[in-house]
């Protein structure tokens, strides 16, 4: 089905419910992974994922089709995740990176983390990067999002994203090799 047709189904009250269920089934897993990579904690990711779908549902009428539905949904999820982590950090009187460091320190005890030593090391290495570089690295490395898609989600040029990812890889490799 073409995206335009799918969007029309989402906007039509008669077909909206079925179309939204399809959207939910297509997007819930990749969006969860995207959000979880940013907020790190499962319960937080669950809250943000719910808020993201509620926002998508409530703002369907405002979606003008200027960008792809995929980019629009990912942009909402990204903004929701960043806002969430910033708010949570503010409440605990820390920066978002300090909060994330705390979560990563406790990953071994997290019941929803099946990682080993190298995975924890990688998470620690990611935290040494600037915030935007962290996001670019996670989206490219873990989720394999294409640069042009990432560009429409983050509003950054493809060239800048490639440079950012390249720098991130170098820093992560240095961090892990030094340790």
């Amino acid at each position: 089905m073409e995206e335009k047709e799918f969007i029309l189904q989402l906007l039509n009250p008669k077909t909206q419910n079925n179309a939204f269920q399809k959207l939910l089934s297509d997007y819930k897993r990749p969006l969860y992974n995207h959000i979880r990579n940013i907020v790190l904690d499962h319960d937080d990711a669950n809250d943000v994922l719910q808020n993201t779908f509620i926002k998508v549902f409530q703002n369907l009428n405002n979606f003008k089709g200027e960008s792809k539905l995929y980019s629009w949904i990912y942009r909402i999820a990204t903004n929701e995740s960043i806002t969430f982590i910033n708010k949570k950090a503010k409440l605990s009187g820390a920066t978002s990176n300090e909060l994330k460091s705390k979560i990563v320190e406790n990953l071994e005890a997290d019941t929803h983390f099946d990682g080993n030593e190298i995975q924890i090391k990688l998470q620690k290495a990611i935290l040494t990067l600037p915030e935007k570089q962290q996001l670019v690295f996670k989206m490219r490395y873990f989720q394999e999002i294409k640069y042009d898609e990432m560009s429409t989600i983050l509003g950054t040029s493809v060239g800048a994203l490639k440079a950012s990812y390249h720098l991130a890889v170098k820093k992560i490799e240095n961090f892990i090799n030094k340790d």
Binding site: Q21, L24, S25, K28, R29, Y32, N33, R36, N37, L40, H42, N46, L49, Q50, F53, I54, F57, Q58, L107, H112, F113, D114, G115, N116, I118, Q119, I120, L122, Q123, Y141, F142, V169, I172, E173, I176, N177
Partner: protein, 136 residues
């Protein structure tokens, strides 16, 4: 020891996992929430409409009451207040008053004066310093 290269090794996953059946439960939970959100939106809009109507009604009543009170209570006192104001402000000269009068006011005054010509004559006769007034 070999140098770590992120693209040489087998891909490292994030290691994050979810509880069993999380995604099917998520859909059910979200659908419940969305129905709830839809209802909440309707309830809020009805309440909001009622609230706005009530406030508008109160404002109209208050405004009407204020205008009515001003018209009924303040008008009879207008002339008295004006007199008091003029008598308490001695710096207001007759020239100031003249500039405030329009043609119609002056005509009205002349009619009043014409009706009282005999009184004026008497006043002139009985007032010794009438010349001072006339020269002023």
């Amino acid at each position: 020891m070999n140098e770590f290269k992120i693209n040489d090794k087998n891909k490292i996953t994030s290691g994050f996992s979810t509880p069993d059946g999380y995604f099917s439960d998520f859909s059910l939970e979200l659908n419940k929430k969305l129905k709830l959100t839809k209802t909440e939106v309707n309830v809020i809009s009805i309440n909001k409409k009622r609230w706005i109507t009530s406030v508008a009604a109160i404002l109209i009543v208050a405004l009407a009451a204020t205008i009515y009170t001003k018209l009924v209570i303040e008008n009879p006192e207008d002339s008295l207040e004006m007199e008091n104001y003029i008598s308490n402000h001695s710096e207001i000269s007759q020239y100031d008053l003249i500039t405030l009068l329009d043609k119609k006011d002056i005509e009205n005054l002349s009619i009043e004066l014409n009706n009282n010509n005999s009184k004026i004559d008497k006043e002139f006769l009985n007032t010794s310093n009438i010349e001072d007034y006339l020269t002023e």
